[in-house]
Symmetry: C2
Subunit: 215 residues, 2 copies
C-alpha cells in the first residue's frame, strides 16, 4: 500500500510557522526563514518555472519530496481565504497554476464545490473529517503516496491519529521564539530515523512512524 | 583559544528534561528516555567502570564529547541537593567518584567551600555569576575546552550571553509533551550545522554558534 507522508521545515525550537499569521504574512513573522534553504535550490526554482538556483543535497531533497506523491491533504488555513464560510473568489495562495499538479483535499468545516486549476491541480473541499479526506486522497493517489502538505494542525491531527507513515523533517538551525508548534498534543508517536541528509543549511531527517492506531 | 561547548540530548518537541523533576526523578518524568541511546553504549559503560555495551556511531559520539574537556560548568539544579542554603552532606548525584574527572564549577546563589572528590573531580561553587564561572573554568581548563554540562537553564544562560561556541545536540526521536525546554528565551542565536552523525537511535548534530556578544 502507498504511504502517508509529510515533509516540513521546523526550527530548532520546534516551530513550523512564525507568530501572527495573516493574509499578508501567511507563515507568520519570521516564518520565511524556515524555507530559505528550499527556495534557494535549483529544484524549487524549476518547479516555479524559474532558472538558476543551487544544486546539491538540499536540491536533491526537494526533488525527492515531490516524487511519487499522488495526492495532497492540507488544512483550511494553509489553503487560506480566512475563516468561516468561503469567499469563492479565493482560490488559494498559488495563482492559476498551483505547484501541486495533483488532487489536493482541503480539510474544512464549510462546504464548497471542487476547483480545477491549471496544471492538473484540483482542490476538493472535505467537510467530514480527516479519515474521509485520507480515504478520498488514497483513492485519488492510487499506488502513489498521499502527502499531508500542512499546516501544523493538519499534520498534528494525522500524527495523533496514527495515520502518518513517514515524517521528513528539515531541521533549520534557527529559533523563532513563538508560532505554531508541530509536536504539541500529538500523543507519544513511535518514530525511527531512517535517513539523514546533512547540508550546510539544514539537517534533513526522515522518520518512519510506527502505526499505533488505525485511522 | 579553547572552545566553550555543550552537548545535550533533546526530544523532538524540544525538551531536555521531563516534567516534575524531583530528588527521586532528577531528570523528570520520562526524562531517562532522552539518555537511553547513551547508556546502552560501550563507551558510557566503560566510563562507569562497567563492561559490555554497544559499539558503533553512538558509542563514538560518547567518546568524542568527553575528549578534550578541561573543565565543566553546571547549574545548581543539576548538582542537586534542593534549593536554598546547602545541606553540606549533599555531594552530588554521582557518588564518591563522579564521572567528570576534572574541575566542575557549580552556579549557585549560596556560598560553599570547594569539594574534592575521588578520581580528580572537584566541585567549586560560584556565586558571582556565569561570567565569573566561565573565567574560572577557562583558567582551570588551560588549552582544553570548557563544557557546559547542564541543565537547561545553565545552557540557556550561556547561549543567550553569546558565550557558547559549539552546541552538540543529540536529537532523540521521542516526544515528552512537557518539561524543560532548551531553546526558550535564548534570543536569536546564529547556528550552523558543522557535523551530522546518524544512528538508528538518535541523530547527532553539532552546531557552531556565531558569537553575537562577548560575555
Amino acid at each position: 500500500m502507498s504511504s502517508v507522508t509529510c515533509q516540513i521545515s521546523i526550527s530548532l525550537d520546534g516551530f513550523v510557522a512564525g507568530p501572527n499569521q495573516s493574509i499578508d504574512n501567511p507563515i507568520g513573522e519570521g516564518g520565511m526563514r524556515l524555507h530559505q534553504w528550499a527556495v534557494k535550490t535549483a529544484s524549487w526554482r524549476e518547479q516555479q518555472g524559474l532558472e538558476g538556483g543551487e544544486r546539491g543535497a538540499d536540491s536533491e531533497v526537494i526533488d525527492e519530496v515531490f516524487e511519487g506523491v499522488g495526492a495532497y491533504i492540507m488544512g483550511r488555513k494553509m489553503f487560506g481565504g480566512g475563516e468561516g464560510p468561503w469567499d469563492e473568489t479565493w482560490t488559494g495562495w498559488w495563482g492559476d497554476d498551483p505547484p501541486y499538479h495533483a488532487p489536493v483535499f482541503v480539510l474544512t468545516h464549510h462546504a464548497r464545490e471542487p476547483l480545477s486549476m491549471q496544471g492538473g491541480t484540483t482542490f476538493t473541499f472535505v467537510t467530514d473529517g480527516i479519515e474521509s479526506a485520507l480515504e478520498q486522497a488514497r483513492t485519488a493517489a492510487g499506488d502513489q503516496d498521499v502527502a499531508i502538505a500542512g499546516g501544523a494542525s493538519a499534520v498534528r491531527q494525522y500524527l495523533r491519529a496514527g495515520a502518518l507513515d513517514e515524517l521528513y523533517l528539515h531541521i533549520v538551525p534557527i529559533t523563532l521564539g513563538a508560532g505554531e508548534r508541530l509536536f504539541e498534543d500529538v500523543g507519544d508517536p513511535s518514530l525511527e530515523p531512517v535517513k539523514v541528509i546533512a547540508s550546510p543549511a539544514v539537517t534533513h531527517v526522515k522518520y518512519r512512524v510506527a502505526r499505533r492506531l488505525s485511522p
